[in-house]
Symmetry: C2
Subunit: 341 residues, 2 copies
């Protein structure tokens, strides 16, 4: 392993000159810089991480606090994790993965050891212990998700409220007067997960404003949960002509299967919208029109937010990403005066 001293000797300068050439914090003559860079290439020099951390108080490591509970949706989780790693790499940052159940102790440990420059926090609960922790630590932090009532933190999220409204508007504009919702597993709801509340709030408000009748089922996890939820919805809302999925793909698949078993066609008999979909709604057996979850954009923004705070260039801000719409033909006007579902 070549050290900075080796590079300095090879380039015929002092080690501080090498350090400045790398950091750009002082002017270096072009010819000197070239000599140094050549020496670095030839010696395959990589700065020692421990020395950099100790001397410069910058580690180039972000923690990702990504607790995976027993009911977590693995594909979505993995997508988030991967996207954060990619975004961090673009800034020469590595990601230390904190995936244990007790994420508070993970953050505390890594921060207290001065091992991380900042943290990206996902899986944000309504009352999230990580908020006061990072506040107390003064740790540059970026949330993927918005804990309610928090405005002194950097948060990025889809505008779930808007998404709920848009979902209703879209279906109401197509003529639907009775819209069912299959939501996330009730275990998420029991945990008072904030994004669900925001979506539901927007959805319900828009229904009220437009005189649309609605009912929601919070299913069990898994395909059978989706099937049962659809059956229950049909009882609750017998004239339902449109269905909104605000849940992940196993539930969606279960419900779609049930719809198919009942001989209902999409969108002929039932219009379907996948709202805030983290999955590829076009790869389902029936491709669904969707309001997609802008997962990559969220992750990239979260990393930018965290690094802005690390560099003291930014201040905490809450950013909501406007929902978009992907039309895959699963929405149409309801059949006249029929009771299709």
């Amino acid at each position: 392993m070549a050290t900075i001293t080796d590079v300095a000797q090879a380039a015929g300068v002092s080690i501080s000159t090498v350090s400045y050439a790398l950091s750009g914090k002082r002017s270096i003559a072009a010819s000197t810089r070239q000599r140094i860079m050549r020496a670095i290439d030839e010696l395959e020099y990589e700065p020692n991480a421990g020395a950099r951390m100790l001397a410069g108080a910058r580690t180039n490591i972000l923690a990702l606090s990504a607790p995976l509970g027993p009911d977590g949706h693995l594909p979505t989780h993995m997508r988030f994790v991967t996207s954060v790693v990619e975004a961090a790499r673009a800034h020469d940052y590595d990601v230390l993965l904190l995936a244990t159940d007790d994420e508070v102790s993970g953050i505390r440990r890594a921060a207290s050891r001065s091992l991380i420059d900042g943290v990206v926090i996902m899986g944000v609960a309504t009352v999230d212990e990580r908020v006061p922790l990072v506040r107390r630590l003064g740790l540059p932090s970026a949330f993927i998700g918005v804990p309610p009532g928090i405005d002194d933190m950097s948060c990025i999220d889809l505008d779930f409220d808007r998404a709920g409204r848009d979902a209703v508007a879209m279906l109401a504009d197509a003529g639907h007067a009775a819209i069912g919702v299959i939501g996330h597993p009730h275990s998420y709801v029991d945990r008072d997960t904030n994004f669900i509340r925001r979506f539901t709030h927007g959805f319900d408000e828009e229904c009220r404003a437009r005189g649309v009748r609605t009912a929601t089922q919070w299913p069990e996890i898994g395909r059978s949960g989706g099937q049962q939820a659809y059956d229950l919805l049909r009882e609750q809302l017998p004239d339902m002509t449109a269905l909104v999925f605000h849940c992940n793909e196993p539930i969606v698949e279960g419900a779609l299967r049930r719809i198919s078993e009942l001989g209902l066609s999409i969108p002929g008999d039932l219009s379907v919208l996948a709202a805030c979909a983290s999955y590829a709604a076009d790869e389902l057996e029936t491709p669904l029109s969707a309001i997609p979850l802008p997962l990559d954009e969220m992750c990239h923004s979260a990393v930018e937010n965290a690094l802005a705070l690390v560099d003291a260039l930014g201040h905490p801000k809450v950013t909501l990403i406007a929902p978009t719409y992907l039309d895959r033909g699963s929405i149409a006007a309801p059949k006249p005066a029929a009771h299709p579902a």
Copy 2:
């Protein structure tokens, strides 16, 4: 942030005494040790990671090289990642996640910066560039998976060859003479993924030894791939009475759906075995008997292997975990002289 100097002052000893009390590398009087530990508690001291790395050449970070290709199975991947993180935590190690496409540069970077003590490598291809890299770097490395012809590395894996043999034996013992296989997506096979070759080798050898006829389909990714694979298998092996899945759950689900559509019952008309299942085969619509992938055991062993090499306590070894069997009633004797599938 309290430093070791603060602790030493509070305990009335030198900083080297504090260091020895923490490391246990020199004898410390019990009363002195107590004074020190009390000071550590009161000051909430955590050692500075950079200083430890620089002074002691031990980082307490393992890298996890976990490349996720475009056809990767996200749930399985996430399970592996989580399990490695958990295993590392048990040894007070954190995990640096290298999930970028070019995993060779990730390992090289982290090692060259002396940022990691070792690396756990998953997603092992038959010809894997990471093998010569870690060999050249002399980096303590543990593979989840066995690159063929490699015996100077620490590898842990299920004994896929044995699993293939056991699958045949189990079904042949129940009386099946024609067994179909739905394997992993052909894109995996195109990549010459070694665990598939080992499973297939054991499977085919055991079929030959027992005079069992067999055919294999390598489907497209996804549910429809599973459905098509099953249909093709029925054409290839019209008297097929048993089916082995050696693939992940979307394909399994697609094939199971097709089986159900054809009005076939499991195990009455068709015996089914999930081989090397990384998913919870008991949570499928039809719970399947399975040879499970011992994912957690593999990950924990890999971490142990890596740390043994870090501590220079172990030498590279290849360990194959014997397959186990979970009976969930999806295997029975074939119907006499019928052509059920």
